[in-house]
Amino acid sequence: MGEIGLKPYLLVGAVLFVTGIVCMASKRNGIGVLMGVELVLNGANVNFVAFSRYTALGLDGQIISLFVIVLAAAEAAVALAIALNFYNNHLTIDVDRGNELRG
């Protein structure tokens, strides 16, 4: 057996992406939705680093994945602040309750 190759890493990234999408779509807890977003970003990171290792992308993929990690941290901070505000106003974190803007 040679080296692992690109495909297994892409499959792992696909599993992370799909679980993140399902988590975002099916959780009623707002923080659960956030965790789904983290899973999706993590799947994208696996793809970036795998392409950086096995193709001519070089270090570019690793740099982009560093940017993704920083953006995910920023996104988590803002989204948690919003979730705390939502909880202060509604006394729950159920995203189904946030429907005041419904037309």
Binding site: V22, K27, V49, A72, A73, A74, A77, V78, L80
Partner: protein, 196 residues
């Protein structure tokens, strides 16, 4: 089976199983725990891909920072010690079905593409990249690309990442100030639609 294959199987199975456990579990604290396991195993995959700096950053920022933030959010917003917000079982089955179809679509696509033919890798390109990527990453964030510019055939210089680095630094600063402003302590508004 070489050691690399054993480690890859271990980390890949751990990553995927924990990601599925995040979706399946209903308790938000258990979801956070499985997310920690999944992100940590992904850092192991990054080590296997010779991306040591990205893996260390993943452990520090994601597992150490973001998840602590998430767990604080869980602690500050949980109404009870075992808060459960269930979805109807029909919706759960539907979500699982759609997820499986979506996953099958991506799997078929990944397997069908011949990546070796699509992407041409120069000979010996990855040889200096076997770990020790911190210096290369730092130089590219400063705007230099010694891994591409040294030995370039036509003498052209490739661009670094100084401007995106500055933009993302200011972005992170602004976002954190905004988050601190949003989450500052306020008087709790008496809610009219309390259900629990």
């Amino acid at each position: 089976m070489s050691g690399e294959h054993v480690l890859f199987s271990l980390f890949a199975i751990s990553t995927c199983a924990s990601a599925v456990a995040v979706v399946v579990s209903q308790n938000i604290v258990r979801m956070a725990f499985w997310l920690i396991v999944s992100l940590g195993s992904t850092a192991g995959l990054f080590f296997l891909l010779h991306a040591d700096f990205v893996a260390a950053t993943q452990m520090l920022v994601y597992v150490g920072g973001t998840l602590v933030l998430l767990i604080f959010g869980v602690m500050l917003t949980a109404s009870g010690p075992y808060l459960r917000l269930k979805i109807p079982p029909g919706q759960g089955i539907m979500a699982a079905g759609i997820g499986c179809v979506f996953l099958a679509m991506i799997f078929v696509t990944v397997v069908a593409v011949d990546w070796n033919e699509t992407i041409v890798t120069p000979d010996g390109f990855n040889e200096p990249g076997a770990g020790n990527t911190a210096r290369g990453l730092g130089l590219s964030l400063l705007g230099f690309r010694p891994d591409k510019d040294l030995g370039a055939a036509d003498g052209s210089l490739s661009t670094g990442y100084l401007l995106p680095f500055e933009i993302i630094s200011v972005h992170l600063l602004v976002v954190l100030i905004g988050a601190a402003y949003l989450a500052r302590a306020k008087r709790r508004v008496a809610s009219t639609d309390t259900e629990n």
